[in-house]
């Protein structure tokens, strides 16, 4: 027992220094404000001017000190429409990203785990391979594909030249020579889906792969067609993987700021951008910290909701037949 305690010491230390303390700091910053200290101007015996601070110290320079006071004004500021809109947009973008990743990723995982699919691990590696490249590089390459004079637009242009009917078709629908793909919400979602898709595929793949094949044989034996066998066995089994994938996509998606800055060109700011701004340009750490807390609460609520879906599913399954 003692040995076990000793073994956990490095991690406990790590957790305290790098997780608990920073979290406490964020909470502290979040619930405080910095205001100038109060002082009174006094005249010293030699006739010069000095300043008496509230704690009684006297100094000759004009006071620059600030003090932290506990205040919830940050939270009042958060519910201003500007920030609420950003939060809602972030949630919408993250949810859409998660949904698209799920719709794209689940079939991929299903195909890869198919009985007759050859070399699934090779394909899995091909899916993960782009993730080994730098995140920024990946996003920049999307930009060079989608920008106004990018690859996609030049392809469309040559297609239009080659096929007059296609050109006519586009012109009739008011499509100009350059189609604007970038710098809107869709572009941001595309960037996120591309970057997070493998985080959806992996957990689902792992769970489906572990399903005992004899369970599927048993289902078929008892009269389940392939589609029914999927609905009654594979789907309920893969639910934990789906929930994990949803968490792994949603959480980074709701807090990201780089993708929205690059693909959105600053036109689609998300809550992550605002937070980054508070710690950067605006250097209002207190507001930034309280926004972080807000996002944290939202993520926690989301995960709590997911967890209850998981629980409910189990209960429902229990009740469904009887």
């Amino acid at each position: 027992m003692k040995h076990k305690n000793l073994m956990s010491l490095p991690f406990t230390l790590w957790a305290v220094i790098f997780i608990v303390l920073p979290l406490c700091l964020i909470v502290w910053y979040g619930v405080t404000l910095e205001i100038p200290v109060e002082y009174t101007q006094i005249t010293l015996e030699d006739g010069s001017t000095a300043y008496k601070l509230e704690d009684g110290t006297i100094q000759t320079q004009e006071p620059w000190q600030k003090k932290a006071v506990i205040s919830f004004s940050n939270f009042k500021r958060m519910v201003e429409p500007t920030y609420l809109k950003l939060l809602i947009r972030s949630l919408r973008v993250a949810l859409l990203t998660t949904l698209i990743c799920l719709l794209l990723g689940y079939p991929v995982a299903l195909i890869l785990t198919g009985k007759d699919f050859k070399h699934p691990s090779l394909w899995m590696m091909l899916i993960i391979l782009p993730m080994w490249m730098n995140f920024l590089l990946r996003t920049y390459s999307w930009m060079s594909i989608l920008e106004n004079s990018g690859i996609l637009n030049s392809w469309i242009a040559s297609l239009r030249e080659a096929i007059p009917a296609f050109d006519q078709f586009l012109s009739d629908r008011g499509v100009g020579n350059k189609i604007i793909f970038l710098y809107n919400e869709n572009a941001v979602i595309l960037g996120m889906v591309y970057n997070y898709l493998s985080f959806m595929i992996m957990p689902i793949y792992t769970v489906i792969e572990k399903i005992d094949h004899s369970l599927l044989e048993a289902a078929a034996d008892l009269g389940a067609s392939p589609s029914k066998s999927f609905l009654r066995v594979t789907l309920p089994y893969s639910l934990p993987g789906v929930l994990e994938g949803v968490t792994m996509v949603f959480v980074p998606a709701v807090t990201t700021f780089v993708i929205s800055q690059l693909m959105g060109g600053g036109k689609v700011p998300l809550i992550g951008d605002v937070i980054q701004n508070q710690f950067g340009k605006s250097s209002d750490w207190h507001f930034g910290a309280s926004l972080s807390l807000l996002v944290m609460v939202v993520v926690l609520a989301f995960m709590r909701g997911l967890h209850s879906i998981d629980k409910e599913e189990e209960v429902q399954k229990e009740v469904r037949i009887f």
Partner: protein, 365 residues
């Protein structure tokens, strides 16, 4: 045996992708309400044959006629045949009742009716009141019963059982053997049972098919298989036996261990090499001076086995296994005799002890 043939397997051959021949043209007719056991060592093709009947394996050639119709093109879910899988394959995310109700609920039968049938089935397998239990809370024997109930509720005409008792301990296995036999009698369903345990096969079955290397070597009632094995492999696999290379002198006279013995068998020609199987309990030990026709040997070992003693009696290069309720001390010289009807003459095969010795596999005992 019932003349009402429900399942007719005709020359079914299975060659795997890697070229391995799992079944080399197997044929067997199975009657209604029959309990047929496919018996053989692992890798003999018994499970492959079962999977072909269930629809999980596609034969390379041959026919499987179910009530006269070839079912090979039908997927498993379109066959009125159910399987009890080797490791039960129960759905762990469902409770006992949901597992049992899986089949009927797929067919969208009336819920109340399903519920009543589930209780009925659970009662049949001795698990009344277990409806709400989770699969993970059940013992191996209980899971086994759930698997049987889950298959039986679909009222299949044929139930396939793939070594269903393999994971149970000996006592539970004996219990389940009787239980299965009772269920089969009461339900009137044809059982096709796969096992490598010869005792299990002999106690439960109406007929046993002994398989080896993708072939059925012998098909018959347990008594026939035990008393009249047609080849050295069957004799050896079915139980402790003495298999001796012999010569058929002429009809009703066979020569082994340097002595001529009168026997009941005929039709093996004259002076032809054959194998003879002697059950250990059929070899009688008499004093050396006894005038009866027999072979003299020396008791080499003596083991108490509960019901009987097991002795090894050496004569020349051979040692015979003898079971007797009468112990003879090690070193005693005895005369071994055997009644003509207890000598089972078999054709030579590649499993014959002398053939295997030549191939370097070592003979049987």
């Amino acid at each position: 045996m019932d003349n009402n043939i429900i399942l007719s397997i005709r020359n079914v051959k299975v060659v795997f992708e890697d070229g391995f021949t799992a079944l080399g043209g197997v044929s067997i007719d199975i009657g209604q309400n029959e309990f047929v056991t496919l018996l053989g060592p692992s890798g003999c093709g018994k499970t492959t044959l079962l999977r072909c009947i269930g629809g999980f394996e596609k034969p390379t050639s041959g026919e499987i006629l179910y009530k006269g119709e070839n079912i090979i093109p039908l997927p498993p879910y379109k066959r009125n045949i159910n399987t009890v899988f080797q490791r039960y394959a129960l759905f762990p995310h469902m409770n006992v009742a949901q597992n049992v109700a899986f089949g009927p609920s797929l067919r969208r039968e009336d819920k109340k009716q399903i519920s009543a049938r589930v209780s009925e089935m659970l009662e049949l397998v001795g698990l009344a009141g277990f409806e709400k239990r989770r699969i993970s809370s059940l013992s191996g024997g209980q899971q086994q019963r759930v698997a049987i109930a889950r298959a039986l509720i679909n009222s299949p005409d044929v139930l396939l059982l793939d070594e269903p008792l393999g994971a149970l301990d000996l006592k539970l296995r004996r219990e389940m053997q009787l239980e299965l036999k009772r269920i089969q009698r009461e339900s009137g369903i044809t059982f096709i049972f796969v096992t490598h345990d010869q005792e299990e096969a002999l106690t439960m079955s109406d007929r046993v098919a002994v398989m080896r290397a993708g072939e059925i070597l012998q098909l018959g009632t347990p008594v026939d298989i035990y008393n009249e094995p047609e080849s050295a492999f069957v004799a050896d696999f079915i139980g402790a036996s003495n298999i001796l290379p012999s010569t058929m002198v002429r009809d009703h006279l066979v020569h082994f261990l340097g002595t001529d013995f009168p026997c009941a068998d005929s039709g093996f020609g004259e002076n032809n090499p054959v194998d003879v199987v002697l059950r250990p309990e059929d070899v009688k030990l008499k004093p050396e001076s006894d005038p009866a026709n027999g072979v003299v040997g020396v008791v080499e070992s003596l083991l108490f086995k509960g019901v009987h003693y097991e002795m090894k009696v050496r004569t020349g290069a051979d040692a015979l296994l003898v079971h007797s309720t009468h112990a003879r001390q090690v070193g005693t010289r005895v005369k071994m005799t055997v009644a003509p009807e207890d000598i089972q003459v078999m054709r030579k095969s590649d499993y014959s002890p002398d053939v295997r010795a030549r191939k370097g596999e070592g003979g049987a005992q």
